[in-house]
Symmetry: C2
Subunit: 441 residues, 2 copies
């Protein structure tokens, strides 16, 4: 039986409560940690073996960091808690009546309480066929795919004899002006200019185009307008063309259509629209805004009191009545709250106070010496914001080794402008046809 | 035209000699460097964009290092030489009469002198279908594939309810007792034991089996017998079962047949037999031993005086009349020799002295505190050899950043036994069926 575990150092006669957590992102891990080494059996299920520090994933996609610098095996993070069991498995459904989670291989895991922390995915607004040409940036696989396409486009441009094709290959398009889109645009502009001036013989810096397309009236819409304006002008100084109020109409092999115009391109990245992963479907309930699940003030799901949703999966509201954003800090605070609440409730019978979000500040980085911070009451921009951004992100990494490795790479990059991970996966040459055609991996 | 390059800071009227180098491994890069910033046009063609420090690739396969720690873009290495042009392309043939190299996309590159430095591949002795189940360790792609299979086998074993299947999944088989096989076996034993005791709840250390299979009478046959004996007993102490005089008869899904016995396994690695890549076929000539190309004392190919072969591609002989081994130091020395020889010959008309190999010592590492060195006149084994091995390999890395990053990771690992890169690529769970069946990527 799934529940039996000979290694637990408790009396087998004692009936223990079982909490199952689906998803080991910021939220799920925080719940698990708060329940660590308690008299509660915890099972964490994830379809990946690692937790990913998503805020720095764009640096993997732009060849600045390695995947291992920002990911950590879930088992390693939770290994010291003897009451926590980790399963690498795909969840395919939930039966709230039988109180079981169904796995891809047909197995079922029983629960007393279930926490859904499955995160979010990009929203292609009904055009899922665009994903093949415009991957989002959610997993290591996608980051590597983007890195490969980007670097390969430069290699193909170097080989091309056709000036128009050269220009098309050196044009990168980022769709969506949120923090990820802005970070990618800034990083690609820096990387591209550096590679062209230093490493390529047959490319000209003025052939490089980086285009950031936003359907709404401004980029970084979650930030105050003065920060947005500054961010836009910083991006433009770095050579990024920012297009606002421009909807994307089509994404095809080697080109996109936006605002009625066809733009030929060597690399497209999707960063627009976020929707919750299919937890609402598992439960057979209606999703709220962006298919996120509506929750009670204690993060339980209405009508399903033993099931909870946190992070990007849930639609919780702040004290101002606004929907809480899909940010790591929200997921983490909700996870800590819920883990402690469950512990007190299960072991001591205490009812929890409602969850309250404490805004730690919102940030986006544009490039070298350029970032913005919004702390609500005050804001920060420029070099100081960039330094603060770097310090905070190094501090948030999971252990001393990763902090040291990332710091060294950042300092090295700051001094030399070199990026250490400019690797195209094997058989890259086999993927070089003479047109802008691209291959899937 | 392929030869035209507007960036070269020389008079276009001047007719310059063109040297084409195929392959940017240790040998090819050494030739290029020796010709750097000379009045000779150099074109380096490789089907990968990076040079790989192969001696540490087994550490990528066993989750100790990241690919970027041991690879460097070829453009970055050669970027400072304005006379060197780098092309990411697949060579498909050579026409020695027309003096052109043919590329995969149909383009042709003319040469005055051609250097073939295409390295070697594993030899499956006519059983190429085994490769799918038993990848070799030559590229980053293969190292990642092995890492993924190894880690996935442990995850599957944790989920399995069948004790026989658990044992099968925790059995790793390494075929070939050369340095790579020995290094892999030692590293897998260390990694496996650490993961089972620390991170997995439902696995027992005595279920772990690491089997090293060698068809010949002893492992590490290139080393003196006393070192081999010591290495074998070190491996056995680390928990590796060493089988010598055992030929492998079949490799299939989930199992191998060796010495008449079927061994069920979760991960097979091929490290037996090396053959030169198909440069001999391009030239339409007969390959020598292990399909390596016979060369004159100046490394030119008999009957084809403007074509040279170095490194694993060539069959050169030492002063003792023995075939030079397929080692990085041979390739590097031949590359340096040939680059200088070509420079002097082309620019000054000087005939080169024959190539002479200087043995810098041969080494293999078994694991923590255990390595062997053979310097010809004297040998070294144990902790001191291991320290020397580590120092030399850090020193041989391409730049200060990589030296620092690798040193930190090694020191961290030495102190904590943790390995930083235990990442299974995405959608790993989709690759978990309930049997020992495996999926290809």
């Amino acid at each position: 039986m799934a529940g039996a575990d000979p290694h637990h150092d408790v009396q087998p006669s004692q009936v223990r409560h079982r909490v199952v957590i689906v998803g080991a992102g910021f939220g799920g891990l925080a719940v698990a940690r708060a329940l660590g080494n308690s008299a509660i059996d915890v099972t964490v299920i994830d379809r990946r073996n690692h937790n990913l520090f998503q805020p720095l994933l764009y640096q993997v996609a732009t060849a600045a960091l390695s995947p291992a610098d920002i990911s950590e095996p879930i088992r390693r993070t939770l290994g010291r808690f003897r009451n926590i069991d980790v399963k690498l498995a795909e969840v395919t459904g939930v039966d709230p009546t039988a109180k079981v989670v169904k796995l891809g291989d047909g197995a079922e895991i029983g629960y007393d309480r279930l926490v859904l922390a499955t995160g979010s995915d990009y929203n292609y607004f009904g055009h899922d066929e665009w994903r093949a040409w415009a991957p989002g940036l959610k997993t290591i696989h996608e980051a590597r795919l983007i890195r490969q396409r980007l670097l390969l486009a430069f290699e193909k441009a170097e080989l091309s004899q056709d000036p128009e094709e050269k220009k098309a290959l050196l044009t990168s398009v980022i769709i969506g002006g949120g923090p990820t889109g802005v970070e990618m645009a800034g990083a690609i502009a820096e990387l591209g200019r550096f590679m062209i001036t230093r490493d390529f013989r047959k490319l000209e810096p003025d052939h490089l185009r980086v285009i950031l397309i936003e359907a709404g009236p401004r980029i970084l819409a979650a930030f105050p307008e003065n920060l947005t304006r500054w961010a836009r002008s910083s991006l433009e100084k770095a050579g990024v063309e920012v297009m606002t109020n421009v909807p994307v109409e089509d994404v095809r092999r080697g080109e996109i259509v936006a605002g009625g115009k066809v733009i030929r391109t060597g690399c497209v990245i999707w960063g627009a629209g976020v929707k919750a992963s299919p937890a609402a479907n598992w439960l057979g309930i209606e999703g709220g805004p962006a298919s996120r699940i509506k929750v009670n003030p204690d993060l339980s799901i209405p009508e399903l009191p033993d099931i909870y949703a946190i992070g990007d999966t849930s639609a919780a509201f702040g004290e101002d009545g606004k929907l809480l954003p899909a940010l790591a800090q929200v997921a983490k605070q909700q996870g800590e709250y819920l883990g402690n609440a469950l512990r007190h409730e299960i072991l001591e019978g205490k009812k929890p106070a409602p969850f309250r979000f404490h805004n730690r500040g919102n940030t986006a980085v544009i490039g070298r010496n350029a970032a913005i911070f919004d702390f609500g009451r005050w804001t920060l921009k420029g070099r100081l914001a960039w330094l603060l951004w770097a310090l905070i992100h190094v501090y948030l990494l999971v252990n001393f080794e990763k902090r040291l490795l990332v710091s060294i790479q950042w300092i090295w990059r700051y001094l030399t402008r070199q990026r250490g991970a400019r690797i195209i996966d094997e058989n890259a040459a086999a993927a070089i046809p003479s047109s802008t055609e691209r291959t899937e991996t």
